[in-house]
Subunit: 217 residues, 2 copies
DNA sequence: AAATATTTTTAGGTATATCTAAAAATAATG
DNA sequence: CATTATTTTTAGATATACCTAAAAATATTT
């Protein structure tokens, strides 16, 4: 049985692997977990001993199948709980992350699977991110980052890759939610900002925003 | 903010206070928490310093209002989650305790209160135990322990004061559930066992069982 | 490739929540 | 009421998950 701390390391390492498509190094993990590199080293040794990942001094780590399975189970729980909070308890999408961070560590397969059924086996969470099923499988719909779009291109906003309160509140304020149709009106080469059009509005957003919005053409 | 361990101490001390209507001593707590008396002493000092309880060396402890409030909040969460598991996720009453022990430590007033509303503000949990409302208030229906009943007396089984798997499974096996009408047919002075009658059956139960069943006349 | 900068690890320390064993206080008994 | 038994506390360890500071390895510059 893994501690909450161990689970959080596994989860963050998984998400860094996905993001960078490579082995994950100590400092990156330290930043994500908000701890010191030395603490990360300690933990990596422990997780390596438990055979959840492969660790080579100074070379970074890579989850092995056992570790990946753990990561997917935590992500599954996190996203199911987020869905529950939004769909059943009337939370808004910017309020669910912190609570789901706690709920994802509850250990009961029966609970997870019954919750899944209760929610009618959702495939995406309130942020559009895919929910692994009980076998760890999930469908990856090819979404394109808004910053890849050209002037004149249109798409539907289907996923957000940033769970932070402030970011989601910013989206709320600008009426940007999953399902919103977006058209690129202008693209500034200097700072990669964009002017986009929704059915309500036209306004400029910074690269920091375009980087976190994913669309379907 | 309290640790999971601190919360468990507060919860158990509260339940011992209710049970014995007196100050709670170290060994009793140790037995409940399944730890050593020395560990309990350490924790009591810590909780006293946090002003959750009054502790006098060798004299036992008593929760003060702040501690009682914490206890009721944990009990509230525990019982709401049990209700959720049974009513919404199709758990049976003998399967909910362990999971609720984890869920009761989730920290989010919004979650607790929205869950409460989602369940239509239940006043008792699946074991018939009262659920405190958000202010810590709950109605105590005067229930009588089955072992106080005389031969010929009838009542309705409304509460069970033992959350253990084995005990609840025993009740299931004998078709004893909340709402069951019970009549006392025989009472054995030697071992305090009873023969009881339900609408289905007549059978003998030991004192260990009668002690944990609470009825309304 | 030598010097410098950065990253990572090691060594040693802290707080939490446990433990064992011994000492101290309280309770029960002859 | 003195002795014995029980309960509780103290003292000193242990494991987890952190930390700081220094050393070692790796990467980047000049």
């Amino acid at each position: 049985m893994l501690s909450k701390s161990e689970e959080n390391y596994i989860k963050e390492i998984y998400s860094l692997e996905q993001k960078f498509q490579s082995d994950v190094n100590t400092n990156l993990i330290a930043k994500k977990i908000e701890t010191k590199a030395s603490s990360v080293t300690d933990m990596l040794k422990k997780l390596a001993k438990k055979e959840l990942l492969t660790y080579q001094k100074y070379k970074g780590v890579k989850l092995n199948p056992k570790g990946t399975k753990v990561a997917l189970s935590i992500i599954r729980k996190h996203r199911l709980w987020e869905t529950f909070l939004v769909k059943k308890l009337n939370f808004s999408w910017d309020e669910v992350h912190e609570v789901a961070e706690q709920l994802e560590h509850i250990q009961s397969d029966k609970l997870t699977n019954h919750l899944d059924a209760f929610l009618d086996f959702p495939t995406v969470d309130p942020h559009g991110e895919p929910i692994p099923n009980k076998h760890g499988n999930f469908k990856t719909t090819k979404t394109i980052c808004l910053n890849q779009f050209q002037i004149g291109e249109k798409g539907v906003f289907v996923e957000v890759k940033n769970d932070s309160d402030t970011f989601l509140k910013f989206l709320n304020k600008n009426n940007l939610s999953i399902g919103t149709k977006i058209k690129v009106i202008e693209k500034e080469d200097f700072d990669n900002s964009m002017v986009i059009e929704t059915n309500k509005d036209q306004f400029r957003i910074s690269e920091n925003v375009t980087k976190n919005l994913y669309l379907k053409r």
